[in-house]
């Protein structure tokens, strides 16, 4: 082993890789962030904003683990640049629970054991959230269809379907807050 260079001796003045300095709207709040322009939204969230609730399983757009909502639509944050997300409304798992406690989907996932290791969970929660906003009472077939891009290796998916259904029922129950 050899210590090859001075600590962190990256050339700066003529480095083409200058950080972009932008405002990202995440979970309803504007954040000033600086990051290298080629970074994905996944990397910006996790590395530059400390929002490690968004996970990754492949970083190639194959597993759905990194799903966040962008303008209300589920998007694979590993396939989206941070720069492409400027001016858009980004929602991550950190924004789901409010002052009054867990979001109904989170509550249902916890109550029904839909999160085992929990690694795929943020991606499923946000995909399901987008579904329920469009279709508050989805059929089982619709749930299976909409979640088919998210892989879970622990649960066999069945508890996840049940949790989405329970959250849908809670959300539309009379007097439901959200």
């Amino acid at each position: 082993m050899t210590v090859a260079s001075e600590d962190g001796a990256r050339p700066t003045a003529d480095d083409p890789r200058r950080k972009a300095h932008v405002i990202l709207r995440v979970n309803g709040e504007d954040h000033e962030v600086a990051f290298l322009p080629h970074k994905t939204l996944l990397e910006v969230l996790r590395e530059d904003m400390g929002l490690t609730g968004t996970k990754h399983g492949c970083e190639l757009g194959e597993c759905g683990t990194c799903t966040v909502l962008v303008d209300g639509e589920p998007q694979l944050s590993c396939l989206l640049l941070g720069l492409q997300s400027v001016g858009r409304d980004i929602e991550t798992v950190e924004g789901m629970a409010g002052a009054d406690g867990l979001h109904p989907l989170q509550q249902a996932f916890a109550e029904l054991g839909a999160a085992q290791c929990g690694y795929c969970t943020p991606g499923f929660l946000l995909t399901a959230e987008a579904l329920l906003r469009n279709d508050p009472q989805p059929s089982r077939e619709r749930i299976v269809e909409e979640l088919s891009g998210n892989l879970c290796r622990c649960t066999g998916y069945l508890k996840i379907y049940e949790a989405v259904e329970q959250a849908a029922a809670a959300r539309t129950a009379p007097g439901a807050g959200r």
């Binding site: 082993m1 260079s5 996970k55 798992v93 789901m96 867990l102 622990c154």
Partner: protein
């Protein structure tokens, strides 16, 4: 078994202990119910910190340069250009870490970075630490490696011929890593006497764990020189030993913290190159260093299911009784030892625990090949033989005109008995499991009667609840728990167990909360930290619920006894009348007479000082004492039965599983929701193994993996997952905590043979290979023998078979003296 028998403790019963027994007899408050698991809220909010979620100031990022050739001598590595790259802080090669390691004491055959040879595509040869991941990655391309190619071998049938330079310089001979042969009773005579002799070959393809979390590790050198490692590992204790050994540090100066695992399934149970490399890089740079493997690297790290070629020769009497079984296995081990010696024995160990097999012989061989190493995946070495065995049962049932369910029910291994190979069975709920799935599925009305193209199949299985022996020989407990009671009523629980998603934190907390009568939210679990927590051997072999649960019960009972002694005096109630429940300590005969748990703790602390207790668990001794008896014994065995209904398209060969009925003998659920979750997850994973998952390589291109990505490696999505009906059979085992047995692995086992048997019922073809792909189904449909089978098994060259008398023959569990020492550790 009454609940009271579940309470452990060798000391004579005190009045306080009697009180506890009484309390447990009255029914459980938490055991068997389904409260939200203790880490549930953290998991659904994204607050759980997995290894790659951690970062430290001034942290460097590491990358490994991996071999692109399968088998070669390392001639020269030139790292100078990489070192010169701006942003690179350190470059490491194998010279830096000369000490070998490996999970089993008998296979210390790995180096953190290769030194003399590379043995598979993906074997790491150098490592870089740089200021960011991209710089580290770029630096890899500046490292020049000169290889002197050697002939590779990719198939066990080739490897066993020993025609190339051996991959390792140890093992039984050439590329044969391990060869075992043992016989219990006279198998040749038993097979001779049978009315029906079945003799078929099977092939079970290798597949991988595919945890959603890619392996990650962060290492840091503390100011006083101690090394702390956070890692996605299922076995912090074994990583502790391996890291200390390779770094040449006293274990007291190395601390392993296992982060919650984003799925393990056995894939994070070996100590890995990258874990040791970042520790060394942190030491050399005096900065925190993190690595997160890419998904492709995770495929190459593997340690998954061994491909196994099998031959099952099995005799039956006319009435259906099994006369004997001769089982042969040839395992493709890949490039390193890993758990392979144990895996080899496991392909022969558990055939005997479901049905009575009076005479049994097992021959097994594991070969090295130039492919990613195989190791333990959910079911470790037992799904492969179970696939063959359960298909043979189906064949026999048909040939003898007996319903497959009845054929099994007529010869169940008796509870609390001893098998031909000297395994001691505890509770045995397979009978009720079979009855439940047969009834639930309408088996008797459907089998052989569904329209062509639709079929139904049945299979059963059993699994260990923890390996009876540790991986390295020692006489210490397998699991330890310490407890500290707080004056405020909180309970801190410390244990080395590692939650990999199966819910072991919750099992631990539930056992303690049940006995102390507090709520799950009053318990704070600190787990898997080698500095703070007593050793638990790890999350493997389905050992955690049984062993951690028993240790937790002992620690909690001891704490309860201290508190009860004082509370009994304060309340003027004899200790055996005290009940701990709902956060109170009170008189069972006069429930209003009581105090809160926190008051009781405060008073006890005033009398006895700080209240901290410990509990531990060591499995009971095993009756088998022959060479090789270390693999298979367990404090208890779980049982499962499954019926599946399938649809087979004869045009395309596509098999669709429509519905699954599965029953599992859990002994006693600790948390029922988590138990059902494990069953459903096992069904899912079994479905993938049966129909689509395979690790395949290109022999003409150095053995590169054909499909190392989540898209190309097919695994079941929501669309392939069938409806599942789960039945739990409660038959408490005297060795289980509250009678509990395992559920993490067993329910996977019946899935693959049940599907194969259902395909036969649907279209009359036998696919004796996994995965049951459309191609194989079509091939079988075209062939005259209506079968898809592997090529003949090569000669395993078994020269000497250890003969052990069975109990029925008057044996005592030992093998006759062969003049050979039996010091070899064969423990898993």
């Amino acid at each position: 078994m009454s609940a009271a028998d579940a309470s452990k403790g060798d000391a004579p019963r005190t009045p306080e202990a009697e009180g506890l027994a009484e309390q447990l007899r009255e029914g459980y408050r938490l055991i068997g119910r389904s409260p939200v698991k203790v880490d549930g809220p953290a998991k659904v909010t994204g607050a759980t910190r997995f290894a790659d979620d951690l970062s430290l100031p001034r942290m460097l990022h590491a990358k490994l340069l991996r071999s692109h050739v399968a088998h070669a001598r390392l001639v020269r590595i030139d790292t100078s250009a990489a070192e010169a790259l701006p942003g690179v802080v350190a470059v490491l090669t194998g010279e830096a870490l000369p000490t070998s390691f490996g999970i089993l004491p008998v296979s210390q055959d790995e180096h953190a970075l290769c030194r003399d040879k590379v043995r598979f595509v993906g074997d790491p040869v150098a490592a870089v630490a740089a200021v960011d991941e991209e710089t580290a990655f770029e630096a890899l391309s500046h490292i020049r490696v000169e290889y002197e190619p050697l002939d590779p071998v990719f198939e066990p049938a080739e490897a066993i011929k020993n025609e190339i330079e051996p991959i390792h310089d140890y093992g039984d001979d050439g590329n044969v890593h391990k060869r075992v042969s043992m016989e219990f009773g006279n198998v040749a005579a038993a097979l001779d006497e049978s009315d029906l002799l079945l003799d078929h070959e099977f092939f079970y393809e290798g597949n991988t764990h595919l945890p959603m979390e890619q392996h990650a590790t962060l290492a840091w050198q503390e100011p006083d020189g101690r090394i702390t490692i956070w890692s996605s590992t299922q076995t912090p204790h074994y990583l502790h030993r391996a890291t200390s050994k390779v770094l040449g540090l006293s274990p007291s100066r190395v601390r392993i913290i296992a982060c919650p695992n984003g799925g393990g399934f056995g894939g994070k149970s070996d100590p890995f190159n990258h874990e040791i490399v970042v520790a060394e890089l942190a030491r050399r740079t005096n900065r925190p260093v993190k690595i997160c493997l890419t998904r492709e690297e995770v495929f190459y790290c593997h340690r998954g299911r061994h491909p196994v070629h099998m031959r099952a020769t099995m005799g039956f009497r006319k009435d259906g009784r099994i006369t004997g079984l001769h089982f042969r296995t040839l395992l493709d081990g890949g490039a390193y030892g890993s758990y392979g010696v144990a895996s080899t024995y496991y392909t022969g160990a558990l055939q005997t625990v479901t049905y009575e097999i009076p005479a049994y012989r097992f021959d097994g061989v594991r070969t090295f090949t130039n492919k990613p190493p195989c190791g333990p995946k959910r079911g470790h070495g037992t799904p492969q033989p179970r696939f063959a065995l359960e298909i043979q049962m189906d064949r026999a049932a048909e040939a003898l005109g007996i319903d497959p369910a009845d054929l099994r029910l007529m010869q169940l291994q008796p509870a609390h008995g001893i098998t031909a190979n000297w395994l001691r069975i505890g509770s045995m709920g397979l009978g009720p499991c079979i009855e439940k799935v047969v009834e639930g599925s309408g088996w008797r009305e459907k089998r052989g009667k569904l329209p062509r193209g639709r079929g139904i199949g049945l299979a059963c299985s059993s699994y260990i609840c923890g390996a009876g022996l540790p991986i390295y020989w020692n006489a210490m407990p397998h699991s330890g728990v310490t407890l500290k009671l707080d004056r405020g009523g909180g309970v801190a629980v410390f244990c080395g167990e590692t939650d990999i998603g199966q819910g072991s934190d919750t099992v631990l907390a539930t056992c303690v909360a049940e006995i102390l009568g507090v709520d799950l939210t009053d318990i704070r679990v600190t787990a898997a930290d080698t500095d703070l927590t007593p050793v638990d051997l790890g999350s493997y072999s389905s050992r955690v619920t049984l062993m951690v649960g028993n240790a937790a019960i002992q620690a909690a009972e001891r704490a309860r006894e201290i508190v009860a002694r004082t509370a009994g005096k304060t309340l003027g109630v004899p200790g055996n009348r005290l009940r701990f429940a709902e956060g109170r300590v009170f008189d069972v005969q006069d429930p209003d007479r009581g105090i809160t748990f926190s008051e009781a703790v405060s008073q006890a602390e005033a009398e006895h000082g700080t209240i901290a207790t410990a509990g531990s668990y060591t499995p009971p001794p095993t009756p088998g004492r022959y060479r090789g008896a270390g693999v298979g014994p367990s404090p208890a065995y779980s049982y499962s039965a499954a019926v599946v209904e399938v649809d087979v398209d004869e045009e395309t060969g596509v098999v669709t599983v429509d519905k699954v009925w599965i029953a599992h003998d859990i002994g006693q659920s600790i948390n029922e929701m988590l138990v059902i979750g494990q069953v459903e997850g096992s069904v899912y994973m079994g479905l993938g193994e049966a129909l689509m998952e395979e690790m395949t390589y290109r022999p003409n291109r150095f053995g590169v993996h054909k499909i190392p990505s989540l898209l190309d490696y097919k695994s079941p999505t929501t669309k392939e997952m069938p409806e599942v009906v789960t039945y739990l059979v409660t038959d408490p085992d005297p060795n289980g905590p509250f009678g509990a047995k395992e559920v993490g692995q067993g329910p996977l086992l019946p899935m693959m043979p049940a599907i194969a048997n259902a395909v036969y019922d649907a279209v009359g073809v036998r696919v004796d290979m996994t995965p049951i792909t459309p191609e194989r189904v079509l091939k079988a449909l075209e062939r005259e023998d209506r079968r898809c089978a592997p090529k003949p098994l090569p000669d395993l060259r078994i020269e000497d078979t250890v003969r052990i008398k069975t109990l029925a023959e008057g044996g005592d569990g030992t093998s006759p003296r062969t003049g050979r020492p039996t010091k070899e550790s064969t423990a898993p």
